[in-house]
Amino acid sequence: MPVYIGKRLLVAIPTLLIISIFVFSLQKLLPGDPILAMAGEERDPATIEFLREKYHLNDPIITQYLSWVGGILVGDFGVSLRTNQPVLELIGQKLPVTIQLAVMAMILAMLIGIPAGILAAVYKNRTLDYVANVVALSGLSIPNFWLGIMLILLVSVNLGWLPASGYESIFVDPVRSLKTMIMPAFVLSTALAAQLMRHTRSAMLGVLSSDYIRTARAKGLSPREVILSHTFRNALLPIITLSALLFGELLGGAVLTEQIFTIPGFGKLTVDAVFTRDYAVVQGIVMCTAIGFIVMNLIADILYVLLNPRLRATL
């Protein structure tokens, strides 16, 4: 196992290097000069020069890149141009909020998507299957920020059941925390639930038509046992891989969801950084999400191997 993980980590190095080049080049796309914006109204040449020196903008581009990457290697993602806080610290402050949102959304998506997929596969081409497919298609097609707005209108404005915005840490006041987060988590979960349902359905159908399921049925196991312990366990592998791949989508969706529900998380940080032209933070965010995505994939691959006895032997 350690050899396998080591190999996978080695493969990730060139990927990360290429990502770092992309992310670094982003700032060269900029039409405006952030230094001019920082220098204020007077645009005092001495101030501009001082700021250029401070952010190493006078160095050759290769030197700038190398020092930026060098910083990342020791956990220094640069400093917010606006608040002077280290980017990693900013992200670290906001991330727990988004992780809570993402975990809640993932749990909801699994609770909705996986049973729906199993039922759709078992009742293939029957009413239940059609209903599940139509609901999944709608889940994939509904813009989640609009769903958020509509839910606020219905649940918060008209019915007054849940707060429309705000955030409370789950460690301070769990009940209030869940109350404020359940609507955004649901909004974020719809597209994931839809994809999980579709994949669960097709994975289940694949397994259901296999010989060992016919054998299980032939030896007289109850349908419940056949579906849950024989079929579902074998269909679970692709579902786990998919869940990890959906992590990126979750973060992207969180940007919009947090904006709608004014949740002070990672997504809100991204939007704020974009609007205050705090490019160091935007770069740090893209870099961090890419690293996060690669780590999630690695975990998924390891889980895949651990859960699949046929592959375990190859390690």
């Binding site: 060139p14 990927t15 990360l16 290429i18 990502i19 992309f22 982003l26 700032q27 796309l29 900029l30 039409p31 405006g32 298609l137 709608s138 994939l140 097609s141 509904i142 813009p143 920020f145 609009w146 769903l147 707005i149 509509m150 606020i152 209108l153 404005v157 990126g248 989508e249 973060l251 992207g252 969706g253 940007v255 919009l256 904006q259 709608i260 991204t270 939007v271 974009v274 609007f275 032209r277 490019y279 935007v282 770069q283 965010i285 893209v286 999400t289 890419a290 995505f293 690669i294 994939n297």
Partner: protein
Amino acid sequence: MTAIEQTAPIAKPRQKSRAWRKMRANRGSMVGMVIIAFFAIIAIAAPILPIADPIATSWSALRKAPSAAHWLGTDDLGRDILSRMIWGARASLMAGVVSVAIAVAIGVPFGLLSGYFGGWVDQVIQRVTEALLAMPFLITAIALAAFLGPSLTNAMIAIGLSAMPVFVRLTRGQVLAVKTEDYVEGARSIGLNHVDIMTRYILPNVFAPIIVQATLTVATAIIAEASLSFLGLGQQAPAPSWGSMLNTAKNFLSQAPWMAMWPGIAIFLVVIGFNLLGDGLRDALDPREA
């Protein structure tokens, strides 16, 4: 060479008509086509339709609920929402189609090269594609749009570039599957050059899954454009777009809920249209599914 070219026109129309028959039989894809056609027609016809000026404000008609004069109501500046919806369809559909065209135009050639040549060309293109795929789609699009500057054109470029790696991956996989086929070997044996083999023999045979993916990606791209416009990174005021209409609408939820309703319904319908059409195309073009 003549033998190969002679068989092609006989086989093709038959396959096309079978795919078309399967499409016709698929109710979902027909519904999708009707939805898309409806929005495409109103988007194209927007300048000649008898509707109000989408950016003309009216202080005497602020936030009026739907009525005979304003079928879908008016917004916070007294603009006719129906008219803004119709002009918004232009922005939305154009963004969806243009950004996918960008993704296909860049992604497919790289995928072709990668799959066809293999070796170091493949290695380089695949490493870059992997890196791009590791950057979450919407976050990349937001970051790119932020750095390029907010405008509809830049939003389309940002979405197109973010969606591009999927097409590299897909095309490469398809090319690998067909490049050992007899007809490709045949083309090579009669001394055709690489460009001819790639464009005349390989590309037509890998195009079906690319069309399917492109259709489904239009759906994703339309949501992405609406998201960027919602954040203020797409279409700029006062030009109408569904995403920016929703952004304004969320400030008037309790006073004028209709402002938030229509753009969302429209996005939902168009996206479901492209998803239905894409799923239908997949079923019709995929030989594996009976």
